[in-house]
């Protein structure tokens, strides 16, 4: 199968998967429940989500481990089960993936290093534990995502690098500022992210979440101004949620996102998938549009 970063050099746009959180909610996950615990208690539901993305045409799928760091699991008293929960997450996606790839999700810990919430050593240990378990469960790559702070992201990259053979993907979440440029809440721009992650040895970089496909096109352009050859992965939200009849709905339809996907590839995205609010239908439409 080889590395994803080699596959993208063969001039084909690869397709990743869509949302997990919103899919779990549709299957009955309640507010206040630990999504990652479902890897143990609702294995077949999680497996079905993964399978639906493979059927939709994903070349790679994520794992239900976004909040699987011991820091997040501690809110539910599950930090001592971090190893078991993350290994199960990767095993489920591995089972669904067949000959496709598993890119294991590692989300932010919610701790701010510069506030002294945790030490760098504690943060490193949390990411190490998670990444090792995800590799043991059969992941091919680590997808460190929704990052806002460089220090936390670089700590995660280092922990994966030094303790596993996983290929390293790292994506940040940007907002558009009133001046019209893109920054994370910690003030990181796409170009400063690009420079720092390449220097740290991330093999694929990019952006996830955020406010829809159109903004992702601008973000990819900025990444490409800094690096013309680093493989770029984009997991875009189906826009920002709007409340409709008491329920949250995401504004971008599969057709909307598929309509912009070729442009996203044209400006330099190598791997395209979805984040919050995207479904297998979105992924199938995007795959149809770019392949």
């Amino acid at each position: 199968m080889g590395k994803i970063s080699d596959m993208v050099k063969r001039n084909r746009v690869l397709i990743s998967d869509g949302a997990w959180g919103t899919s779990l909610q549709q299957k009955g996950l309640l507010a206040g429940e630990c999504p990652e615990e479902w890897n143990i208690s609702h294995r077949s539901d999680v497996l079905e989500i993964a399978r639906n993305y493979i059927y939709a045409g994903s070349d790679m799928i994520q794992t239900n481990s976004f909040g699987g760091s011991r820091f997040k699991l501690a809110h539910y008293g599950l930090d001592s089960k971090a190893e078991e929960i993350n290994r199960a997450a990767a095993e489920i996606s591995r089972e669904a993936a067949g000959d496709k790839l598993v890119i294991a999700s590692l989300g932010p810990t919610g701790k701010i290093l510069m506030m002294g919430d945790v030490s760098e050593e504690q943060l490193y240990e949390g990411f190490r534990e998670q990444a090792v378990a995800l590799e043991a469960g059969g992941a091919d790559a680590a997808c460190i995502e929704t990052m806002a702070a460089l220090d936390e992201a670089l700590c995660a990259v280092k922990a994966v690098q030094e303790n596993t053979n996983l290929e390293i993907i790292c994506t940040f979440t940007f907002d558009k500022t009133s001046a019209g440029d893109f920054r994370t809440m910690m003030g990181v721009s796409p170009s400063s992210m690009t420079t720092a992650l390449i220097e740290a040895g991330a093999e694929i970089i990019g952006s996830n979440c955020g406010n829809g496909m159109e903004q992702m096109i601008c973000i990819v352009k900025e990444i490409r101004n800094t690096s013309s050859d680093i493989p770029v992965l984009i997991h875009a939200n189906a826009g920002l949620p709007v409340v409709k009849d008491g329920n949250n709905t995401f504004p971008e339809t599969p057709e909307d996102m598929a309509g912009l996907a070729p442009k996203l590839a044209e400006v330099g995205a190598n791997i395209i998938g979805g984040c919050c609010g995207t479904t297998p239908a979105h992924i199938a439409a995007i795959a149809g549009a770019v392949q």
């Binding site: 809440m185 949620p241 409340v243």
Partner: protein, 221 residues
Amino acid sequence: MSETTDRIALLVKRGKINKASPFPPDLKEQDGADEQTKAALDSGAKPSEILDGCMKGMQEIGTLFSQNKVFVPDLLMSAKAMSAAMAHLKPHFQSGEVKRKGTFIIGTVTGDLHDIGKNLVSMVVEGCGWEIVDLGVDVGADTFLEAIEQHPDCAVGLSALLTTTMPAMSQTVAAIKEKSPQTRVLIGGAPITREFADKIGADCYSPDPQGAANYLSTAAA
């Protein structure tokens, strides 16, 4: 404004905590909010001059933050500098020599475990002169109601990051308004909009911490 007030305001705005702090680089090895506050009080400055300085500094950094001209790290450093100055004021608050504008109760709603946004709002509102009662994350309506009973003149802030916890926010606002209609309720968080705030009967929505502080100052005046 006194010279002391301006000096403390500048240190808070720049996020210069104390002499040992390397941030910001151009103020390295100079006294920070900690040392300057102590020195000012020792040489007879009024505690209220210090408090005014904290308020002015936090107001300035909070405004820059809402304009996207500075980001979370800058706000955090300012809040740390503010805390360093405020620590010297503790006895003066206890003696009643300086007073807060009021009490602000804040928490993240049921089912939501995110605290970064809530903490940023706490820091800025505290910096604008309010006493903060932080109820933490995953806070149920009953806990808010109990806290309101203990601080009847308070204002309340509700935070949510997840789209899935917005209904809990709606229920909490309804519970507060039913039991304590005069209590002002402010809401905020990534998925929250003014439209949503209007719909669920909250008094104020702000996309950034300074907006909440400004609302409180106006409403309290």
